[in-house]
């Protein structure tokens, strides 16, 4: 190795080190401590656990499209998907997946709900027929409060104040029971079950009045002797403790909230819309059209005989006024009536792009021509089993890695050590890739990854065996190492290609479980070529030198047999 090569190698080593640190910071599973440079960047990606590890349910529905014209089918199924997605979103599941696919001419809808507790309720909700309603403006509606409503609010708030004062008296009488009282009385759903505790917060996180109290008025451990009123209602506040200075000052506090009503809230909750008799069953068809002059997309509606009559009456009543179309209680379109429409055919124009128009058609179709769906399969894993499986897999991984490391050190000594270091880079790199590309980790995909760890050192085994052979054949140590890398390459390439082929086929044809396994194994095989060859070679070159010359035992070779 000449001088410039040595310099080049040094740079390579630095690049690898930086890469390793970069990956480690990304791969670290928890949030990094506050104050780490670029804290947000490192913490923005998370491991995505599959349903079998975090608990959840996987549902496959068959969509029966036999009653729908062939050309409308795919749009109808997309409509079903949208409807299910909206319902599932309302269910409060994190990152629900709702997909459609086609198998042998049949449409399928796949729903994945992570961490869901009541599967039955979800299934019932998903299976409900979508409800499409046409509504007109309520003439009695006004955006201001009537005297009656105002009185109602005043009464409500008066009772709230009395209740709050009563609770405050109880708190002051027995400050130690703050947590119990909070659980009993507080109307803040978020903190009620934590004994009213809100955790650590910096300035700017709470409303002004509340913040003033905990940051400037109260001392640690002190409970406010008066009620604090905010937009939410009356608070009884306890400051637990504080830490940090200036910008970093944080306070941990607890509160009991007794809610009040405000005028805005009441106005918002009033319904501006009134039902008409017209509904989804009167709509026979919705389709996407283009204006003949402007070429702009528009949505056309066709009603059946009953619908024609009803729609005519509604449009006659509402010329110049809006008529809203609701799907499952959410407005999906609010067109204004330009003139009475008596032919049972209407066109909704507006400034929508093709995508929006298409979605509206899908939504209308979902309500007009409900596609019956039947549940074909369900796979549910309870959260406790998921957690257990995850822990077991992680342990299996850790033990497997340690065992492989010991094996490499025993058999290959110094190069073995380099291979173990390369394996560390390999693991960090893979973990970072899992986060960056948001790869779903299931039991099978973790198995794929752990398997790939065993395969990653295979390349090193091939190289080092070759190196040993070259040393035994009398080659000088440094050359033997270089030759080992060179000559083992074809075997490594060929054997990895066969694994990659099977991975691709598994991914292409497999179910989601099999796909997970194939994907992590594939990523593992590809990155292992980099770690086992490039990283190990760089490390080896770095430690090679004259000092090693006679120390062949470091390579696991007893003596040099000269030819």
């Amino acid at each position: 190795m000449n001088f410039s090569q040595a310099v080049k190698n040094k740079y390579q080593l630095i690049v690898i080190l930086i890469l390793a640190v970069f990956c480690a910071l990304i791969a670290y599973p928890k949030d990094l401590p506050v104050g780490t440079p670029l804290e947000k960047f490192w913490n923005q990606t998370k491991y995505k656990l599959g349903l079998d590890l975090q608990g959840g349910t996987h549902l496959i529905y068959q969509a029966d499209t036999s009653k729908i014209d062939a050309q409308d089918r795919s749009s109808a199924v997309e409509g079903v998907r949208d409807v299910i997605e909206r319902r599932v979103n309302a269910f409060g599941v994190s990152e629900p997946v709702v997909q459609t696919n086609m198998v042998g001419g049949e449409y399928r809808v796949i729903v994945e709900l992570a961490g869901i507790k009541d599967v039955k309720q979800a299934i019932d909700m998903i299976g409900e027929t979508p409800l499409l309603e046409f509504k007109e403006q309520d003439a009695n509606y006004s955006a201001t409060l009537t005297a009656e409503e105002q009185k109602e609010i005043d009464d409500y708030n008066k009772t709230a104040k009395e209740k709050a004062q009563d609770v405050l008296r109880q708190v002051l009488a027995a400050p130690a029971k703050f947590n119990q009282l909070a659980t009993k009385y507080s109307e803040d759903a978020g903190s009620q079950n934590q004994g009213g505790e809100l955790g650590w917060a910096k300035q700017g996180q709470f409303v002004k009045e509340f913040e003033e109290e905990i940051f400037n008025v109260l001392k640690s451990g002190q409970t406010s002797s008066r009620l604090v009123q905010t937009n939410y209602g009356y608070h009884i506040i306890k400051k637990i403790e504080e830490r940090g200075e200036g910008e970093a000052r944080e306070v941990s506090s607890a509160h009991i909230l007794i809610k009040t009503k405000s005028a805005e809230e009441v106005i918002k909750s009033k319904d501006a819309w009134k039902n008409t008799e017209l509904s989804g069953r009167h709509l026979s068809r919705a389709s996407l059209q283009f204006d003949q002059q402007t070429g702009e997309p528009q949505v056309s509606l066709e009603f059946n005989e009953d619908g024609k009559k009803l729609f005519a009456e509604i449009t006659e009543r509402n010329v110049g006024k809006p008529v809203a179309i609701f799907l499952d209680g959410t407005p999906i379109s609010v067109p204004t009536v330009n003139e009475p429409i008596r032919e049972g055919k209407a066109v909704i124009t507006g400034r929508f792009d093709i995508k929006e128009a298409k979605q509206l058609v899908e939504n209308l179709s979902a309500g007009a021509l409900p596609v019956p769906i039947t549940l074909l399969s369900q796979q549910t894993v309870g959260a406790s089993l998921g957690k257990e499986s995850l822990q077991k897999s992680l342990w299996a991984g850790v033990i497997g890695i340690i065992a492989v490391a010991i094996f490499m050190l025993l058999f290959y000594r110094l190069p073995g050590l380099m291979a173990v270091l390369a394996l560390v880079v390999y693991i960090l790199l893979n973990l970072a890739i899992f986060q960056i590309f948001n790869i779903t980790l299931s039991l099978a995909s973790i198995a794929g990854f752990i398997l790939s760890i065993g395969m990653a050192v295979d390349a090193n085994v091939l190289i080092f065996e070759r190196t040993k052979e070259e040393i035994k054949a009398g080659r000088e140590l440094n050359n033997a190492v270089i030759e080992g890398f060179k000559r083992a390459w074809t075997s490594i390439r060929d054997s990895n290609i066969s694994s990659l082929i099977t991975c691709l086929i598994l991914y292409w044809i497999g179910s989601s479980v099999v796909k997970g396994f194939a994907l992590t194994l594939f990523i593992g095989v590809v990155t292992s070529m980099f770690s086992a060859i490039t990283v190990t070679r760089t490390l080896m070159k770095f430690i090679m030198g004259n000092w090693l010359k006679e120390k062949t035992w470091l390579f696991g070779v007893k003596k040099i047999i000269k030819n």
């Binding site: 399969s377 369900q378 497997g400 198995a447 044809i509 099999v514």
Partner: protein
């Protein structure tokens, strides 16, 4: 250390032959036990937090007595307090009913059970997965065969390159047959089921098997070039001995991680990992003792025909 593998090849062929025969017989008589992935049906894993857990047959009787048209119910105890219950494909209402039955059999309410896992697969999906699995095996096998043919296109002396390919493919069939045979026997005696993951394991074994074989063939190719004066048998024998350590060591590293997964890892991947473990061992054995010695057989056959 030098093993005369080529010389003793008939012993290995007999050994492999016996294993293959057992596998074929077991597959013919007992077949494989399909999981609900393929046959359709439902599987419920449930933890009963009762003072006294019923015995499995007792629970099974209680459920069938209370619910006549459920059909066949298989109850299997799991650990201290859990059951695995297998039935036909269930709708969501039937699923809830089954839970209620399990609870009432123990004098509990549904809320007092912990449902750990529930899978129900309709016959349509089962059929679909079966078709998929068959396609996967066919396509993967073809792809691997093409790949082998491609890898060995350059060596043609003294044995034609397609014969190397044939040797690798035979070794591969050998491995797959024995692993499948093992699972047929496990299925009969231990109730092991064959699911989609098992199919993935088979395909992964395809990859492994070829992997090891390629390493040995590669060395044969190299030795043919560097030591042309040696006989073909000697060359093959030397190649096997040269590469034996790395074949074993590469398989060992994989075996180590698999063993760790098997002993500690999640329950649902256990059979999958076991299939892989058997595959790795058999694959290594076949690449050392079967694949290369077959080359010598082809070679000798070729000589005889020429004479």
């Amino acid at each position: 250390m030098h093993l005369n593998i080529v010389k003793n090849r008939n012993k290995y062929f007999i050994f492999s032959g016996i294993l293959i025969l057992i596998s074929i017989v077991s597959l013919a008589i007992w077949g494989l036990k399909p999981s609900i992935d393929f046959s359709g049906g439902a599987l419920l894993e449930v933890e009963v937090k009762a003072e006294q857990k019923l015995a499995a047959p007792e629970l099974s009787d209680k459920i069938t007595n209370a619910w006549k048209d459920l059909g066949e119910v298989k109850v299997q105890p799991l650990g201290e307090s859990s059951f695995i219950i297998r039935t036909k494909h269930l709708s969501e209402d039937e699923h809830q009913n089954l839970l209620a039955q399990v609870a009432s059999a123990h004098g509990l309410t549904k809320a007092e059970l912990e449902e750990k896992r529930f899978e129900t697969i309709g016959p349509v999906i089962g059929q679909e997965l079966k078709t998929k699995a068959i396609w996967a095996i066919v396509i993967a096998s073809l792809a691997i065969i093409f790949y082998i043919a491609y890898s060995f296109r350059k060596i043609s002396k003294p044995v034609a390159s397609w014969k190397y390919g044939l040797g690798a493919v035979l070794a591969l069939i050998h491995d797959i047959l024995i692993v499948t045979g093992c699972f047929s026997i496990f299925g009969y005696f231990l109730g092991f089921e064959v699911d989609l993951l098992f199919i993935s394991a088979l395909l992964t074994i395809l990859g492994f098997s070829v992997h090891d074989t390629i390493v040995v063939y590669d060395r044969t190719r190299e030795n043919l070039i560097y030591n042309p004066q040696k006989t073909f048998e000697e060359t093959v024998d030397k190649a096997i001995n040269d590469t034996m350590r790395r074949s074993i060591n590469t398989s060992l590293t994989v075996f180590i991680v698999l063993l760790s997964l098997f002993l500690i890892g999640g329950e649902s991947t256990k059979n999958f990992v076991l299939a892989l473990m058997i595959g790795v061992v058999i694959g290594t054995y076949s690449s050392i003792f079967v694949a290369s010695t077959l080359l010598v057989v082809w070679y000798k056959l070729g000589l005889k025909i020429k004479k």
